[in-house]
Structures are given as C-alpha cells and as structure tokens.
Amino acid sequence: MSPFWLILLVAALALVGAVLGRRKAMASAGGDARVLHSLPNYYGANVALFVAAPALLVLAAWMVIQPLALDGRVSAMIPETAYEDAGALNLLMADVRRIAEGLDLAVEQGALTAAEARAAQAEDLRARLAEIGVAVGAEIDPSTLVAAQGLRMLDARADLVRTVVILALAAAGFAFTYARTNASYRARNSVEFAILLLLIGASTIAILTTLGIVLSMLFETLNFFRQYPASEFFFSLTWDPSFSGRGGASTLGILPLLWGTLYISIIALIVSVPIGLFSAIYLSEYAGKRFRGFAKPLLEVLAGIPTIVYGLFALITVGPLLRDAIASPLGLGNSASSVMTAGLVMGIMLIPFVSSLSDDIINAVPQAMRDGSYGLGATQSETIRQVILPAALPGIVGAILLAASRAIGETMIVVLGAGAAAKIDVNPFEAMTTVTVKIVSQLTGDTDFSSPETLVAFALGLTLFVMTLGLNVLALYIVRKYREQYE
C-alpha cells in the first residue's frame, strides 16, 4: 500500500475512533456532559491522537530508514568486480534504483504484467523502459538487473510488513485508549500534553537549523581539507581555481577574498556609520514630530528594499558613474565594478540599519541625564556629544558591529558591483572579490562534490559563518549589557 493511502486510512481510522470515543465517554456519563472530567470533544480527540500519532510517527521513521537499510543489502548483491570505487558503486546503485522503479511503473501502467516484470531480460529492457519514459543511462548489465529484481522483491516485502505494522499500531492505539475512556478519564490533560509536545517540537527547529548549518558545512569542509592542505587555504596569497576539472593545480587561498570582503565592508561602514548615526541623532533629538514622522519611515524603506535592487543600482548607475567621473579621469582604472562601487552602495543599504538601532539606543538614555546637562548650561549639541553619546557608546558599538556583520555576509551587491577578480590591492577603484562572491561562483552551474574547487565553497561558508557569528554574539552581548545598565 502506498504511503499516501496508508496515511489516508490511518486518518479515517482516527476519525472513526474520535466519534466512537466521544460516544463512549458520553454513554459512561449517562448522557450528561457535566459529569465528565473534560469536555466531550477532548475524549474524541484523545482517541484520534492515540490512533494516529504513533502510527504516523513510525511510518515517517520507516520511510526514512527503509531505503537506507535496503541499499546496504542490495549493494551486497552486486559482484565486487562490477565496480572500481565507491563512486562507481553509487552510479550503479542509481541505475539499480531506476530500473526497479521503471519496472514498477511498467507494471502500474500495464505495459508489463507482474510475472513478465519478474522474468524481464536484460537485453530488451532498456528499450521497453524508454517506451514508458524511464531513461536508463548505460546498457543494462545482467548483474545490475539481478540487483534491481532483488531490490524490488525486498521493497515489496518491506512494504507489506510496513502496512501490517502501521495498521496494527493504529488498532492497538485505538484499543488502548478506547478501553480507558470513561467519565473520570482526564482526556483534556492528555490532549494538551500532546499539543505541548508539538509546541516544543516547533521551537526546537531553530536549534535544528543551526545544527544543520554547522554540520553540513563542517562535514564538507573536513572533506575539503582532506584533499587540500588547510595551511594553504588560510595563508596562501593567491586564489586561482583551475577549471580543467579534478586534480588540476588550483591554488585556493582565502586571503585575497578576505581582503576584498574587509575592504568593501570598511568603505560601507565609513559611508553608513556617520550618515546613520547623525540621522539617528537628528531624528531623536532635534527633529519635530512631523519631520520625524515623514523622514523615519522613508529611511526605513531603504531597509525593506531587497539587496538585488541595490546590486542592480550598483551595476547600472553607481559603477559607470564612478568610473566615468572619478576613476578614468584620475587614471585609477576603468572597471565599472570596483570596491568603491560595492562599498558605497552597501553603505547606503546599511544607513537605516545603523540609524534605527542607534535611534533605539539613544532613546534609551534616561531623560534625567539630558536634564542634568541642560541644567548645567550645556547646549543641546554639547549634551549630545558629551553626555548622551558616551552613555550610549556601548550600544552604538554593538549596532556598528551588527552592521559590519551584515556587510561581511552581503552577497548580491558584491556579486553585481565588486567584480570577480581575486587580488590584494589598495586602489579602491579596482575590481576585487569577496568570500560570498566566490561561494556563489563555486556552487552555481555544474558542481562536482568530490573536487576541491567545489568543496572550497563550504570552507568559505564556514569561515563566513564563524566570522559573522562572532560579531553577532559580541554585538548582542554588548547591547544586552548596555540595556541592563538603564533598566
């Protein structure tokens, strides 16, 4: 039975169970709902829960485990002479799976009878499978066919066992709860406990995501370091992947990429921090209510614009403008994509980020400090510079660190604005590249997950993740400490 029908059947059983459970509870209370411990619907829900939850959980686990378990047994059927290494075995197994699926499909569509499928010969099978739209790469080897038939048999047997086990679980769940259902049974507590488990499960997804990020990158990074020396990666001054395929003489040093990343981020911060900070000061200390109500949302619109828009802005407007107005006349280069282009545009993107965070922080400085300063005769700007800013400094530093982490991880602006040439140079009108650009370029298009040229992207990603995580943790720590000071 296919999983879809199995799920439907279990759901139907759960529904029947719910009706029966509710009826039994009402009957045991003599038809008077007030005698029951819980509302009548909880009894129904409780039975449904016990029918469906264990059965569906086991089904989900089964569907993950079955292919893994069968793969091991089927690959043992293929003679060791048929393949050279693990990669070739994987390809063979993919063929086995496709043939098995193709045969199943043929039976389903009526192109073959079940008996014919079992007795299928290797010679004409490829053509027959092609007829029903299953493409098998190479000619089918008899040993592959044997394995495929083995897989089909095991699969069919496992499916049968699965159906029996799932239905038995559902029935057992029903018998267990139905027997326990009576007027004094605490159905509500049981149902609510299940809901609570669901809520807890939902909130652990955040942990699972982090775990997934770290593990997926860690494994591939370790793979990478097995093929490529870590010291070269961290200390080499050249980035020069070979495109000739595997085993070429690639030099994959991260330093030029880090240099580009940091250079662009620093320009972005030089643009965004003064503008953002002064905007925040003006809006929170000087601006009238009407001006603030008009200017603040406008600045925040900048934060809502997708980064691809900034990227295009850099590509079609800022880049050519900088090249024609500054770089070419001064002889600093004639590339439209440059560190300056990407840095300026990224700076614009970060303005609202710095300003809204700083705004919050400046507003958190107690009014008493301002009043004290004014009382001593300070002007407003003296108060801001000598009282408010020092008091808010930790928070502002936190905001700047968060902005820096954004800048380091930003992708689309640098992909479109910074260029792809990995080099270490001080001229800001040269095209340079960043860690994120190289992750994109190594992982798009044809990728081969056994070559260092592809795997290096995971090492780059992990480096990026560690850097931004460090900055974020530091920034959050500083901001939190600062908040506590005034709460």
């Binding site: 609510e192 809901i195 609570l196 669901l198 809520l199 499960g201 939902a202 909130s203 997804i205 955040a206 942990i207 995501t209 982090t210 990020i213 997926s216 990158m217 494994f219 591939e220 503008i275 900070l277 002064f278 003006y282 809006l283 000087y286 200017a295 406008l298 600045l299 619109v301 900048l302 809502g304 614009i305 997708p306 980064t307 691809i308 828009v309 990227g311 295009l312 802005f313 079609i316 407007t317 303005i351 300003s355 002007t379 700007s381 801001i384 954004r406 991880g409 930003e410 992708t411 689309m412 994120t436 994109v440 992982l443 798009t444 997950f449 992207a457 995971f458 931004t468 995580l469 974020n472």
Partner: protein, 450 residues
C-alpha cells in the same frame, strides 16, 4: 556663605551686555547650529539616496512595460505548413520554425509593399526586423488552431530588440551605424511603418506573463515563470513558517520554563536572524538537495530554505504580539476555569492575531526579495516551462524566482536586458509595496492598545 564665590573672577569680557553674546557663546552657538546641520544633511542624504535609487531603477525599467509590435497579414499556405494535408497536429508539428520563417518574411514584405512603402533592403534584412520568437509563436498558434490553415490572418509580431530599442530611445541612427545587428536603413523602414500605422508601441503584457527567452531575444523575455515560482515559494513559506513560527512563539512566550534549554533556543533564534542569507543557501544545497535528494531548481526547496530564513522574523514578531496582550486577559480566563492551553488558544492568540499577521507579511516580503540562497539551489537555471499546478506536483517542477530572474538578466550581454532587469525589479517592488501596505493597513485597522 563663603567669600570665595563672591570673589570668583568673571571670565570673558565682564563689561559686555547680556543682550550681546560674547565671543565664546557665539562660538558655542555656531557649533550648535553646525551640529544640527550635520544631522539634517545626514537625514537628507539618506532620503536623497532612496530617491536616486528609485529614479535610477524606474527610468531604466519603465520602458520594459512597453513593447513595439508590427501588424502583419500572414497568408498561411496550407501546402507548406501541412504537407500531408490531413490537418493532424502531430503531422504538422514536423514542419519546424524553418518552414514558417520564409512565410513570415514574405508576409512582412507583402505588408510593406501593400502599405506603399519603398525600401531597398534585401528580404533578409527585412526579416531581421522582427523577433525570432515571432516565428515560434506563429507556429505554436497554427498548431493549436489547425483550422486557420489556408486563411490570411492578421498577426501582431514582436519587433526585434534593436527596433524596440529605437522607439524607446536606446538605439539611435548613430549607434546603428556601428551595430552589426541593425542598420540605419532598417530604422528608416521602421519609422515608415510607424507612419503607416503598422508598427506601434503598446503595453507589454507579455513581459508579465511570458516565460524567459534566450539571450538573443530580449524583446520576448518575460517574467511568467519567475512570478509563478516566487508565488509557489511564498505558498510554501506561508504554509510552513506561519504555523511553526506561531507554535514556537507560543511555547517560548507562554509555557517555557526559565532554563538552559529555553536559553539555548532563544540564543539560536536571535543568531539565525543575523546569519548571512547565503549560508542558508549552502544549508539548502547540502541538506535538501544532496542529502534528502529533492530536485534542483524546485520551488519546494526554495520555499524550505526561505522558511528557515523567515522563521526568526515571524517568531520575533509573534512573541512581541503575544507579549502585548495584557495579563488580565489570561487571569480572567484562568479564573473562569480554562486550562492554560485553552487560555492561550481561545483568548490570547486571537487577540494577538493582527500583530502576528503583520509580522508574517513582513517576513514574506523579506523572503520574496531574497536572492543569494536561491542562486545556490539551482534557481538560476534557464526555465521556459511553466511549473504545473501545486496539486499536480508543480512544487517539484523547475522554476525560477523574481529576484533570481533579475540576476539572470544582468548576466546577459545584450543591453536590452538591463531594461528587462529593471522592469523585473519594478514588478518585484510593486509586490513588496502591496504586501507592506497590507501590513500597515492590518496594523492600523486591528491594532489595539491596552
């Protein structure tokens, strides 16, 4: 009283009047003004940048919504398009676009002659004035309606990218001299056609509905597949991120005890909110595609990745919204005998709903504009087929997404694609604007302050 205060010497010019500020005060006041001006300049710079950004995109992209077309009377010669003569579409499909091209070319020349326009261009140059895509369109139309064979039908064909650019000001007689894809004579002919009323520039519906076209046919490139792909991804994000986010927030805000585990979750959520988006792309590639074996370029994978990215936003908004429901509501419900679960689901959650929806819409808007992670999971692929309906497994069909389509357009050399990319951005921004306005409307309409 001490004498010390009385004898403190006055600084500055003691003789001055109170009405006349002394030099130091003037200096301080000037500094005050300057400081204030810096602030104003900063705010104005920010707003100016926004204006510059929007005008740059609008001026480059608005023309993508207009398209030049040519009216041609095409005689569909039955003998050439249906050699077997049985009107069977399967047989007719054997005539490729090479069979249709001369037909369209002759029709165009005929149209020009019947309009009384004289030209010295050779037939090939005339045929080059219409998009290659038009031939394919004509063929598709004939195959779908075999009944029109033998008739002469009016067809609106796309002008080539250069001709289109000429009427939008991108191509001029000067640039045409240097361009091997277009000649000034062709431009003259196009102008003559316009005067004859056969060539017109109108609203470009195809840009919104048609699929992408190859790198040599910018005039035919559209956003249909990208919009559909983005829409599917938003469906996935909404279906997953909203329930999971709300469930997680309810647990953290209403039930979670103060312990290490809760702290761990909280730290994770705030960190995930700040992880660079491209890292989520790597996660999607490694887990959903390489490990779980989901297909590349599929909206389901994009949706899953964007769900993980959107979750922190939704959780943060939902928690703020739950927190703003006053405790008295909870106390009242508990006092009447409701369980904690009933209190939350029957009373607190409905009251927090407007805030949750607002947060969700803003999260969706963020997800809609996200590009970097989608590049890594293969959504940059060139896709011309519309994905199927969701219930037919369309979520697993290859598709692209709006922001990725923009990136795709920028990677092509023909300058006409800059216009297409900017036009796609305008479509994207319009969607974002609508979503944000909806969020603002919801907030204004339903927000309650206790």
């Amino acid at each position: 009283m001490t004498d010390a205060t009385a004898e403190t010497p006055r600084r500055g010019s003691g003789t001055g009047s109170l009405m006349v500020p002394d030099a130091r005060t003037a200096k301080r006041n000037a500094r005050e003004k300057r400081f204030r001006l810096y602030g104003l300049v900063a705010v104005c710079t920010g707003i100016l940048m926004l204006a510059l950004l929007l005008t740059s995109i609008l001026s480059a992209g608005l023309s993508a919504f207009r398209q030049t077309t040519i009216q041609v009377e095409v005689p569909l010669v039955a003998e050439r398009l249906d050699p077997e003569g049985n009107r069977d579409p399967a047989q007719m499909a054997k005539v490729t676009t090479f069979g249709y091209a001369p037909l369209l070319r002759d029709a165009l020349i005929g149209t020009i002659e019947s309009a009384g326009i004289e030209t010295e261009l050779d037939p090939r140059a005339i045929a080059d004035m219409v998009s290659d895509e038009s031939v394919a369109q004509l063929r598709a139309f004939v195959l779908a309606n075999p009944g029109v064979l033998g008739q002469t039908i009016p067809v609106e064909v796309l002008a080539s990218g250069r001709i289109d650019g000429f009427f939008k000001g991108r191509v001029t007689y000067q640039t045409a001299e240097l361009d091997k894809n277009i000649s000034p004579e062709q431009l003259q002919l196009a102008e003559a056609l316009q005067e004859a009323g056969l060539l017109a520039t109108g609203f470009n519906w195809r840009f919104i509905t048609a699929p992408d076209a190859s790198t040599t046919r910018p005039e035919a490139a559209g956003l249909g597949v990208a919009i559909l792909g983005s829409f599917y991804m938003m469906l996935v994000v909404l279906a997953l991120a909203l329930p999971i986010g709300v469930a997680a927030s309810i647990y953290l805000e209403e039930f979670a005890p103060q312990n290490k585990f809760t702290d761990l979750i909280e730290v994770n959520i705030s960190n995930l909110a700040a992880v660079p988006s491209i890292v989520f792309g790597i996660l999607g590639l490694a887990i959903f595609i390489n490990f779980a074996g989901l297909p590349q370029s599929a909206p389901i994978v994009g949706g899953l990745v964007l769900t993980l990215m959107t979750l922190p936003t939704i959780i943060i908004a939902t928690r703020a919204s739950l927190k703003s429901v006053p405790p008295s509501i909870r106390s009242a419900a508990l006092g009447l005998g409701a369980s904690r679960m009933q209190t939350v689901f029957h009373h607190v959650l409905p009251l927090a709903m407007p805030g949750i929806l607002t947060g969700t819409i803003i999260g969706l808007a963020q997800a809609l504009g996200e590009t970097a992670p989608l590049l890594l999971i293969g959504m940059v692929a060139f896709v011309r087929e519309y994905p199927g309906a969701p219930w037919e497994g369309g979520l697993f069909d290859p598709a692209t997404a709006l922001p990725v389509q923009v990136y795709n357009f920028t990677q092509r050399s023909d300058p006409a694609f800059v216009e297409r990319a900017s036009g796609a951005i305008i479509v994207l921004l319009i969607f974002l604007l609508i979503m944000n306005l909806a969020a603002i409307f919801l907030r204004r309409k339903f927000e309650r302050r206790w």
